[in-house]
Symmetry: C2
Subunit: 210 residues, 2 copies
Amino acid sequence: MSRVKSEPGPVPRPTRDRLITATVEQFRLGGYHGTGIKSILTAAPAPYGSLYHFFPGGKEELAAAAIHTSGQAYRDLVDLSFPPGADPVEATRSFFDGAAEVLAGTDWIDGCPLARVALETAQDSEPLRQAALEAFESWLDVLTVRLDEVGVSAESARVLAVQLFCLIEGAFLLARVARDREALSDAGDGAAELVAAALAARPKKISSSI
Amino acid sequence: MSRVKSEPGPVPRPTRDRLITATVEQFRLGGYHGTGIKSILTAAPAPYGSLYHFFPGGKEELAAAAIHTSGQAYRDLVDLSFPPGADPVEATRSFFDGAAEVLAGTDWIDGCPLARVALETAQDSEPLRQAALEAFESWLDVLTVRLDEVGVSAESARVLAVQLFCLIEGAFLLARVARDREALSDAGDGAAELVAAALAARPKKISSSI
DNA sequence: GTCTATAGAAGGATAGAC
DNA sequence: GTCTATCCTTCTATAGAC
């Protein structure tokens, strides 16, 4: 009986995962410099010893893991928001609308999960700059592939993906500071317009009306 | 002789101004949480007493003044970059190109002077959020007026101004993290495209060709 | 692997002389 | 207005028992 897992129950999340999750959550509210290690350990919860056991590099190494995790989660969101076969103009509009809904519904907190930390650390920590860059590039890759699939040429797809990224990130910034959806609404209009223009310019297979 | 200013020489900048200037400079490198009061006092230079004499509200009040000053400086830059009478498409392209030049020439530091501090403080300090918002709005106002002057309708001018803001801010973020001009180049293309489209749709006075 | 205690530095703010 | 000394908190990191 002693070695048997009677009543399996929920598997407790390992300490390492709890630390990363807690860091993601704390960064969401306080960013890198605004988040203390103690608050992460309290939120995990985990003791000091575990942190430096799993992350010998301390706060910086833990932050890199948190950035990686946040980046993957948001990449998955982008992936789901631009499903293969969907109308890219509609998907773009929906993405900006959904982002506005989430942001407004979280007291203007949940915009880009990485922008703040990236701006805080890009100059001072090469590992963290690389982690953020890898995350951003993964989002751009998803977008580029999806746009390519609907007929936008390879080079144009990448350019368009970068433009959509810039529009959403800038809109997150302004919307958070203004506590207003206007920026996301206007940026969404611009994004949809750019996508539509790229589609209109694509090498026609059946060609559009007019 | 004692009361006469013989050899006027350069007027020493008052302590209050030096504090603000030093804060602007330190925020440029370390942001709000990454900048200590002591480093500001060292850079000014100024003693503790002067800081709390001119800014009884401490770091927060000093930061508000620094945000205001940075905001005015960048508004002036936008103002100069979109001179009345100039082709707005050309001005837009030049602005993004110039921004890329400055950013690359400062080791990817001098992008938006407020984005990082704004993201750091918008949630936690209402005075600082307001200061950043006021600065952003002043930039948008300049752009809106300029676009209106070339015939873009009032509502469209504001929307377009917001779109240009989002594109440049998002591009600053990505370019700083990637240490690459691509984002500013692509965003500049998108911005020029949106401006051109708005001009083509404007209530014609002489009407374009075709 | 987990935990506590503490070191050592840096943070913002204040007191009080001048 | 200017200056220095100092308080108290918070920060990251480490030591060493278990």
